[in-house]
């Protein structure tokens, strides 16, 4: 089992390559890119749309207040390349979201990674998984 798992992990790293994070249509002026916030919450809506998909979820912050967060990722095309789908989330899913919040304190942000109810994760920034070349 250990050998198998080690092999799988090695295979995963082989298939990972550096990929430029794509935030094509706007910059990051409103976001505090130095902050790193992780929230546990419940999905209220998943919008699969251009120019950016975004996930809305209710989460309690460190003051005990529940707020409805809206966090953006890139467009459906780029997210498809990362393995995301229109059906990646459903209302009521328990998720853990790692994000960069906006500077003004509103519950808005850019999603970095999200952990799904089954324990798997999806990433929105940084290295992206890529496919093997097609058979010749």
């Amino acid at each position: 089992m250990r050998t198998t798992r080690t092999g799988m992990i090695a295979a995963a790293f082989v298939t990972l390559v550096a990929s430029t994070s794509v935030w094509a249509h706007h910059g990051t002026a409103s976001f505090d890119t130095s902050k790193d916030l992780t929230l546990k919450g419940t999905v209220t809506e998943w919008i699969w749309a251009n120019p950016h998909c975004f996930l809305k979820f209710d989460a309690m912050d460190d003051t005990g207040t529940v707020r409805n967060w809206a966090v953006e990722v890139s467009n459906p095309t780029d997210m498809t390349k990362r393995g995301w789908q229109r059906t990646s989330f459903k209302v009521g899913d328990a998720v853990t979201v790692n994000l960069q919040p906006v500077k003004n304190g509103a519950p808005i942000g850019r999603l970095r990674t999200v952990t799904l109810p089954d324990g798997s994760s999806l990433t929105a920034m940084g290295p992206a998984p890529v496919a093997a070349p097609p058979p010749q």
Binding site: A29, A49, N104, A128
Partner: protein, 264 residues
């Protein structure tokens, strides 16, 4: 460890589907785009038909560092509030006509920004280019007609093409609509802009695209924002995803995200 194991399984299940599926392909994966293609078969003569993908290189999100603007360009772009580049504003203040109200991408922005996969189709008198981004198309006339004199501006201009040699197709375009921007940095252009696109098929699987702009009304010299950008031939069963600016979706995005990022 458990999370990483799940991630591995996710990769194994989802990644190959990106390439091999018959419908709704987002584009070729980076490792296919970046693979050397020096051993591929020779380029066919006078044939650039097929679906081509530049991968991440084609997206051009930050925009371009242009030559100096003329006084006309400074006045033209005085009220442009771009989302990227040296003049970028806060997200809620952006007034890019493409991303905020879904104006047409226009030309040449269509080949300078979001150059996602596109299909080239050759007929006896035309080359048609069908773009995934915004699901737009262009007609390049190859029937020998000259470019029009004093044309009415069009979002996608007027284009004629010819073969410079057996593997190089050259397109000349005029008559563009100066309401469109060149890029995300808010570089303007005038209706006097002349664009030359060069499509050089290096071998069967690889093509290079070069785009040169000559717009003395707006820029102090011609410039080449795309220089031999690599394009990889996609398999013939590649079905392009839709990637369309829908005003309904943009309004929803702005209401949920942009309008709440205000820093004022």
């Amino acid at each position: 460890m458990r999370a990483l194991g799940s991630f591995v399984i996710l990769l194994a299940v989802s990644a190959p589907a990106v390439y091999t599926q018959d419908w709704n392909s987002a584009g070729l994966p980076d490792n296919v785009i970046n693979a050397p293609k020096t051993n591929a078969a020779s380029a066919p003569k006078r044939d650039i038909s097929g679906i081509w993908d530049s991968g991440g290189a084609g997206i051009g999100g930050p925009g371009y560092e242009s030559p100096p603007w003329t006084e006309w360009a400074k006045e033209k772009a005085a009220n442009y509030r771009p989302g990227n580049g040296p003049r970028a504003v806060y997200e809620n203040d952006i007034n890019d006509p493409l991303s905020t109200v879904c104006d047409p991408t226009g030309f040449p922005r269509q080949v300078l920004y979001e150059t996602r996969p596109f299909q080239m189709v050759q007929t006896p008198t035309q080359v048609l280019i069908l773009y995934m981004f915004e699901r737009r198309w262009r007609v390049i006339w190859t029937d020998g007609r000259p470019l029009p004199k004093d044309p009415d501006p069009r979002w996608y201009g007027y284009s004629v093409g010819h073969w410079e040699d057996d593997t190089t197709f050259v397109v000349n375009t005029i008559g563009t609509d100066e309401r469109s921007w060149l890029d995300n940095a808010g570089n303007p252009h005038s209706a006097d802009l002349k664009v030359e696109e060069r499509y050089h098929r290096v071998n069967h699987d690889l093509m290079e695209m070069t785009v040169t702009l000559d717009d003395p009304k707006a820029y102090t010299r011609p410039w080449t924002p795309r220089n031999k950008m690599r394009l990889t031939l996609a398999p013939p069963n590649f079905d392009m995803m839709e990637m369309i600016c829908s005003p309904t979706e943009v309004i929803d995005f702005r209401r949920n995200i942009n309008e709440r990022t205000n820093n004022k």
